[in-house]
């Protein structure tokens, strides 16, 4: 997976270099949108082919919701503590 990070990092550097060339950036943005669509389509396709996932969809959905709730609860509670002790005192940041 290290190659993914290297690829992304080289993109960041190129994006910074070309940040004033709006036409290039717009094209990159559009392409990014379409590659997300393509990837999600492909993910859907391989899941549709996978009977194990289709047959267990209710269980998978239930697990997902629990993970969402627990992730949000953890971060909201910590943010509440930070807000009370560090941020609320001086609302001017």
């Amino acid at each position: 997976m290290i190659e993914i990070l290297i690829i992304m990092f080289s993109g960041i550097i190129l994006g910074y270099i070309f940040r004033r060339r709006r036409s290039i950036i717009t094209i990159a943005d559009k392409l990014a949108g379409w590659s997300i669509y393509l990837l999600l389509f492909l993910l859907g396709l391989s899941i549709g082919n996978n009977e194990m996932i289709i047959n267990n969809f209710a269980q998978i959905g239930f697990n997902s919701i629990l993970l969402t709730i627990s992730g949000i609860t953890g971060s909201v509670l910590l943010s509440f503590i930070a807000y009370k002790f560090f941020f609320k005192k001086d609302e001017t940041l």
């Binding site: 190129l14 070309f18 940040r19 999600l40 993910l43 082919n49 996932i53 919701i65 992730g71 509670l77």
Partner: protein, 200 residues
Amino acid sequence: MGSLIIVLFFSVGLIAGIYGISLNFLQINDPSIYALYLLMFLVGIGIGADSNVWGTLKKMNLKILVVPFIVIAGTLSGTYICSFFLEDVGALDSMAIGSGFGYYSLSSIIISKMRNDTLGVMALLANISREIFTLLATPLLVRYFGKLAPIASGGATSMDTTLPVIAKYSGKDYAVISVFSGVVLTILVPFIIALIYRFI
């Protein structure tokens, strides 16, 4: 709007797959890995070219810096505890799914590549729900848990899709924190997931 289109593409693929259409005839091991490389490159360009990103990074102070790390610590501990109650999802997988921080397109694809499609779907659903929940619950979150709460709940989405509603209920001052936290988390998503799976 954007997420509706994404869900649409996913569903079309899903239905096509259920009806037996597959890409096996292409004889490529996994065509989507190349699409993922392209996407990561383009996402990088988008981040590098975004004046918002560099602007907020310059404005950062120690207090603002704390916010994304609160989100990371809270999400990882929450999903870690959650994994004890899930029969078929291990602690590392739970934490990796949580580490999408709402960035569902990227996290679902990376996790389905690094692990399997089942976990990829879970990452997709769990992280889409994170965005939807934040959009719906922000007024209540602000009232009961303070102005940082929707930023924490929004995770990576607090820089774009959930920013308008956060700016409305937490105020303009917090919009800056919101963008900053979202930017940092968005950049860190692939790193944190890769780091978590280092332990396997």
